[in-house]
Symmetry: C2
Subunit: 620 residues, 2 copies
Amino acid sequence: MTDDRKNSIGFVETRTIRVVEADAPLQLQCGKRLGPIDVAYETCGKRTPEGDNVVLICHALSGNAHVAGYHGPDDRKPGWWDMMVGPGKAIDTDKYFVICSNVLGGISGTTGPSSINPATGRRYGLDFPIITIADMVKVQKLLLDKLGVRQLLTAVGGSMGGMQVLQWAIAYPDFVKSAMVVASTTRLSAQAIAFDAVGRNAILADGYFNHGQYHDQDHGPDRGLAIARMIGHITYLSEESMRDKFGRNLRSSDRYGYDFNSEFSVETYLDYQGQTFVERFDANCYLYITKAMDYFDLERQYGSVAEALAGTKARFLVASFTSDWLFTAAQAEEIVDALVTGGKDVSYCSIHSPYGHDAFLLEPKTLGAVLSGFLDGTYAKLHPVERENSRPQPPPTVFHFRRIDQARRARVDYELIDSLIEPASRVLDVGCGDGELLAKLIRDKNIRGEGIELDQELVVRSIQRGLSVIHRDIERGLHQYAADSFDYAILSQTLQTVKDPEKVFRELLRVANRVIISFPNFAHWACRLQLLWQGRAPRTRQLPFRWYDSPNIHCLSLKDFDRFCEESGARVEKRIPLGKSRLTPVRFMPNLFAAQAVYVTSRNGGRAPSCIPAASKSRL
Amino acid sequence: MTDDRKNSIGFVETRTIRVVEADAPLQLQCGKRLGPIDVAYETCGKRTPEGDNVVLICHALSGNAHVAGYHGPDDRKPGWWDMMVGPGKAIDTDKYFVICSNVLGGISGTTGPSSINPATGRRYGLDFPIITIADMVKVQKLLLDKLGVRQLLTAVGGSMGGMQVLQWAIAYPDFVKSAMVVASTTRLSAQAIAFDAVGRNAILADGYFNHGQYHDQDHGPDRGLAIARMIGHITYLSEESMRDKFGRNLRSSDRYGYDFNSEFSVETYLDYQGQTFVERFDANCYLYITKAMDYFDLERQYGSVAEALAGTKARFLVASFTSDWLFTAAQAEEIVDALVTGGKDVSYCSIHSPYGHDAFLLEPKTLGAVLSGFLDGTYAKLHPVERENSRPQPPPTVFHFRRIDQARRARVDYELIDSLIEPASRVLDVGCGDGELLAKLIRDKNIRGEGIELDQELVVRSIQRGLSVIHRDIERGLHQYAADSFDYAILSQTLQTVKDPEKVFRELLRVANRVIISFPNFAHWACRLQLLWQGRAPRTRQLPFRWYDSPNIHCLSLKDFDRFCEESGARVEKRIPLGKSRLTPVRFMPNLFAAQAVYVTSRNGGRAPSCIPAASKSRL
């Protein structure tokens, strides 16, 4: 999983700085005070003179400040996110100045429960106060103040790191320009708390724990800590990845040993994970950090996630992994929904991965594309003058299109839709594909645009264009959007492919003042004649599929849609029947001669229908 | 979760019997010998003079012989499956004679690692030989021999109990008439082994374990055993049920305590579970029984699950629960697939439940309906004379039909399909609904019928009719069936509702010699005229839905299907165009005048098309 040394940032150094003095201790969330506090941190890359390229990386439970590069020529393993951070990598140290610090309560240099308590001269042990994610972030802010950092281009972190990123955006809204929350949540599930609790139990139950004062003993609570780590490790992998990696393989024999030694590969793997963890981590820190994660709960603290995030000003990126069952996609979507509800700028990608929660350390390609696209896009937005030059062009990747040919959609619809949209309006493009239309509208009409897209590759590509796009199936509804969130919603060549067109249409009418919908006309004369004379399911240029492999699971005509609008309480503002390829409206008997149609509809009135009268009562 | 005492079997008694003498020890799978062996067991109900009503219940990890009823008037809790076993209950002790014994290696009376080792006069501890599921079953067989049982009407068990049931069916194929495998698997996943291993680690790491010789100490390995139980307990619940039951609730306060005491409800719940388990269970037994579960692996032992089950003669019922992530539905389906591959008689129900693995103890209604339906059906099959009287009639439940109105299907198709099927043939009814057609064919034509159905309620109802039905979405394919497994496959009014008709049709052609398919004719004159003159998506009696709420996601005509057969390499043996309601074939211009059609098709030849020539080249 580690990159070649040649692509690495090279040698880095951990520095330690005192951010809280003993005589001016820090007020913690638990009510106690703590001081002095030292913080260990590392940096990579160079800060611009304007200080506008600072990226703060927040680490997870067992991470530390050593995020990338090597500590020296004999250092065998690079930092924990070396694959993501370095020259030319997703978080490109040629462009950005990266800071990563060890969290409060951590083991690797920052003050924590195994530090010396100045009041006693002994290690804190269980006398260390309970710390929270908010305390960790407060200490990080003190560090940045010391380093003269005035704003963060982005704060980014996975797992517990993502919790810190959320806390950053909430606590310091003007300081944080963007926030990248990966594989994280606003609060752990009951199941995750349960696993943490059992792990802590194993440590506390270890006979060598001795109230946390085990440092001068021959033995620490190693077996308890190893058991805690084993439990944790099971939850970081997915069932699928465990099956692929170990299955029921035996370590060294093809026969059972009929004893209690570890013999399945998965057992020896866990033994190894437990053992190496004991060598590099500390039982007290494990207790304090897992407790901080358990306590993190934006809903409890603010009443709701939406209220917690209401004051944030950052641009958000949320990413989750499909097989992560510890910090689930559903939890990530709660964050997304709360941000959408608050009208915040948010992108979301649910990355397909078999690696479970650990995917945030194991999916450099897709996650890297998303992070770098979002980061570059954010930088470009903040520097509009340099925009055209600095924004990277999306790579010429080959994509597998689902549902409908996006390329064809572009050729036929885009010009027309562009002409229908008022400048500077708010637009939701549902099924936005690779974001071409949104990008065009932003360029031509200076709209504020958002997209929804089902296909992961297209979502990534949209984010790489600097767009704000949410990865979601529109069939699940748009409940997260408030009524009238948009001036326009666009649904192009998609209505006939969704399972429940009525629900989708009603939702669009709710969230947008005007809904622009296009679809193929099933009552085109060619269809009618094919069915009439040949007695076959029609196939035309607009409806090129065979009956059994068509993505068009509903057949409708202009007339059907007129009636549908009537029944749905929608007003047809514009009704533009189109030929096969030209943009000139079909004016004569459109339900017979139009191959497709574009409608502008609205929920509760608006201008009278223009272009072609909507209420045309021709029997055809 | 416990039933009223009034519905209980009442008082029961645990008896212990010596099944293996010290001087004739039992050969175990690990190669060692063990003797003497005592077995604790309980019985409920009365054995028939023929001994044909014996039900063996196999318990799970922490269960025991006390399956139902009370041990005395002061006994506060009934047996572990009291809700399922008793007079009038799913396993009806008014009809059936129930035996449940404590497993080998268990705690409650059967010989295990905490029994006295006659060789030393001390407890076995870790000197007890490693036992396997096969050893447990061998000992149960010795018990049944002692009790004079000559055959089992059924063996039933959940979780590890299901493993024993599988082993019973394999080891004693003539003895076991039916097998009910609930929430179980042919082998644990890597993840499940991992959880077991960590639990054992916690016990072995406990300072008080003392190589299993802890009985004379003040303390046993209680904390280790409690931790093992806590881990297990998390895996028995689903994330959903934990969220519903505990969420992030605090036990006794609305504020955090900022210490390491258990404060979340889920923590105190786990503490309680761990503590009560320590009071009633034994650490040595936990080690041995989890190891037996880890070792159970029919694929390893026999080469494949199908080979393992090849020699079985029992009728099988497999049941799983949707939210069970320890013994998953996918694992249950592996058993089902292997049985189908071997041409065995198998029913399967994937029961929708939020309760995770524990659902087998918490879903008395649905699971009870399935178990009792299957059990009564099996009894009736073995006693054909009493059949009509003894088979219970399905209750008049109100069902919510999916996809297509089953009732209408019945009225129009059944008589015709009945007339097309040769007596005594093998029939697969795909989308069999409540089993009415299969039941009719069995009654009228003495077929050997099997069904596939997607809707849980309809599956339950089919099983209650005594039919063999598999709960599955046909879109997933029929890979488990060998080619030519059936004389006929029936797909009635369903082809136009599936996503991929081509795949479904090809699969049916593969598994059956003849495929009988019916569908509505989209080129019926009424449809043609509606589209032609009204320019609307047609609505007729056969196609009554609106364009946007139709389950018919594909539109096809007889002509389309003719061509489809041609392209699929299928021969049309019979082509029966039908009117709206009559069974008389439409002979004149069928593609224009038939409202629906029934086709008999085959893969590779057969009789020439009869009824209406298939190759009619009329342009209509």
